[in-house]
C-alpha cells in the first residue's frame, strides 16, 4: 500500500517532500479503484490520534523557538560564506595581490620582449651573413663560367692550328700523281719481329 522509494527518482521527489520524512508513495496494492470495501472495514471511521492541547501548546512554543534558532544559525553561516567570497574577490588584500601580480606580469613580459630583441639581432646578423655568402658564391660561379669559356676557346684554337699543320701534308688533286709516284718508289715495310726477351726488330726483309 505504501512503498519506500529509494533510487534515482528519490532526488527529484526529495525536493517536494518534508525534510526529515522517509519518502513513501501510495501504491495501489491488490485492489483497484472500483473494488468495494472489505466486509471487516465496512463501518470504519478513521479517527486521528487525539491531541492534548496543553502538550500541543508547549510543543508549539518549543518548536517555534527551536526553528527560530536554527534558521538564524543557517543564515549566519550563509552570510559568513558570502562575506568570505566577497573579501576574496574585492577586499583590500585582493587589490594588493592583483597589483603585485600585474607587476610581475609586466616584468616577465618585458623580459620576454628583451629576448625577442636579442633573437631579432641574431637573426639580422645571420640573414646578412647568408646574403654575403650567396653573393660570394654567385661571383665565384661567374668567374668559373668565364674560365671554362676561355678554356674551351683555347682548345678549339689549338685544334684549328693542328689541322692547319696537317693540311700541308694532305693529298689533293694536284698532288695526286706525284704522291702515287712517291708511294710506288718508296715501298714501306710494316713488318717487324719480336724475340723472347721482348726486343722489337724493325729491320726485316720486305717481300
Amino acid at each position: 500500500m505504501f512503498r519506500v522509494i529509494s533510487g534515482r527518482s528519490v532526488q527529484a521527489a526529495r525536493l517536494l517532500a518534508p525534510r526529515n520524512a522517509v519518502l513513501v508513495e501510495a501504491v495501489r496494492g491488490r485492489k483497484s479503484r472500483t473494488d468495494p470495501v472489505a466486509k471487516s472495514k465496512v463501518g470504519r471511521i478513521k479517527v486521528p490520534p487525539p491531541v492534548d492541547p496543553v502538550e500541543m501548546l508547549v510543543l508549539k512554543e518549543r518548536y517555534s523557538e527551536y526553528e527560530l534558532i536554527m534558521r538564524a544559525l543557517r543564515l549566519e553561516f550563509k552570510e559568513e560564506v558570502l562575506r568570505k567570497k566577497y573579501e576574496e574577490e574585492t577586499g583590500s588584500q585582493a587589490e594588493e595581490r592583483a597589483r603585485q601580480e600585474e607587476e610581475e606580469h609586466r616584468a616577465l613580459i618585458n623580459w620576454n620582449d628583451e629576448e625577442n630583441l636579442r633573437m631579432l639581432k641574431a637573426r639580422i646578423l645571420r640573414v646578412q651573413k647568408e646574403e654575403e655568402e650567396a653573393e660570394r658564391k654567385k661571383m665565384e660561379a661567374a668567374i668559373q663560367r668565364e674560365q671554362q669559356l676561355e678554356e674551351s676557346i683555347r682548345l678549339r684554337e689549338k685544334e684549328i692550328l693542328q689541322l692547319q699543320e696537317e693540311a700541308k701534308n694532305f693529298i689533293t688533286l694536284e698532288n695526286l700523281d706525284q704522291r702515287i709516284e712517291d708511294a710506288l718508289d718508296n715501298p714501306k715495310n710494316y713488318n717487324f719481329a719480336v724475340d723472347k726477351e721482348g726486343k722489337v726488330v724493325k729491320r726485316t726483309v720486305l717481300q
Binding site: 606580469h105 613580459i109 620576454n112 631579432l120 641574431a122
Partner: protein, 176 residues
C-alpha cells in the same frame, strides 16, 4: 621509435595518461588562446616542430580551456603567440631554439609558478575534508553505511532485531 631521454616505443606513447600528466606548464587564468606558427622543413623550425610534437599534448591536457592552434608553412621564421583575456598579445620568437628551452621560456613568462600551484593544492585540500559527511557535491560520502565493512543501510536491508531501537527499549523496560 622516438627517443627523447625517456624512451618512447611509438607515437601512441605521446598520448598515454602517464605522459600527459607529467606536463609542467599550467597557464595563468588570463591566457586564453595559444598559437604556434612553424614550418615543416628547415633547420630553424626544428625546435618548434619538436615542441609541437612533445609538449603541446601535455599543455592541452593540463589546460583544457585554452584554445591551441597550429599554423604550418605560413611564416619565414617560427614563433608562438599568446592572446590574453584583456586583449594583450604576447609574441615569443622560437627560431633556432631547442624545444626544452622553448618550454622553459613559456613556463617562466606565462605559467603558474611552483608556489602558486602548491598554495592552490593546499587550499583545495583544506576545502575538502574527507572526514566530512554530506551531499555528494561537497563531500565524499553521505552516510557511514556507504563505507565498505560498515553496517549496511537500514533503508535497503532491515537491521537485525537486536540493533533496532524498539527492541532495545522493550528490553530496557522489561528489565526495570
Amino acid at each position: 621509435m622516438v627517443l627523447n631521454g625517456g624512451i618512447f616505443f611509438s607515437a601512441y606513447d605521446l598520448r598515454t595518461l602517464e605522459y600527459l600528466q607529467k606536463g609542467e606548464i599550467i597557464f595563468k587564468n588570463r591566457v586564453k588562446i595559444m598559437t604556434v606558427n612553424y614550418n615543416t622543413h628547415g633547420q630553424l623550425s626544428e625546435g618548434a616542430r619538436k615542441f609541437v610534437l612533445f609538449n603541446i599534448p601535455q599543455i592541452q591536457y593540463k589546460n583544457p580551456w585554452v584554445q591551441i592552434m597550429m599554423f604550418k608553412n605560413m611564416t619565414p621564421s617560427p614563433f608562438l603567440k599568446f592572446y590574453l583575456a584583456d586583449g594583450e598579445q604576447v609574441l615569443v620568437d622560437v627560431e633556432g631554439k631547442d624545444y626544452k628551452q622553448i618550454s622553459q621560456h613559456v613556463r617562466k613568462i606565462l605559467g603558474k609558478s611552483e608556489e602558486v600551484l602548491q598554495s592552490e593544492a593546499q587550499a583545495k585540500m583544506q576545502a575538502s575534508n574527507p572526514a566530512n559527511f554530506g551531499p555528494k557535491k561537497y563531500c565524499l560520502r553521505e552516510c557511514i553505511c556507504e563505507v565498505e565493512g560498515q553496517v549496511p543501510c537500514p533503508g535497503t536491508t532491515p537491521l537485525p532485531k537486536e540493533m533496532t531501537g524498539k527492541y532495545r527499549a522493550k528490553m530496557a523496560e522489561s528489565q526495570e
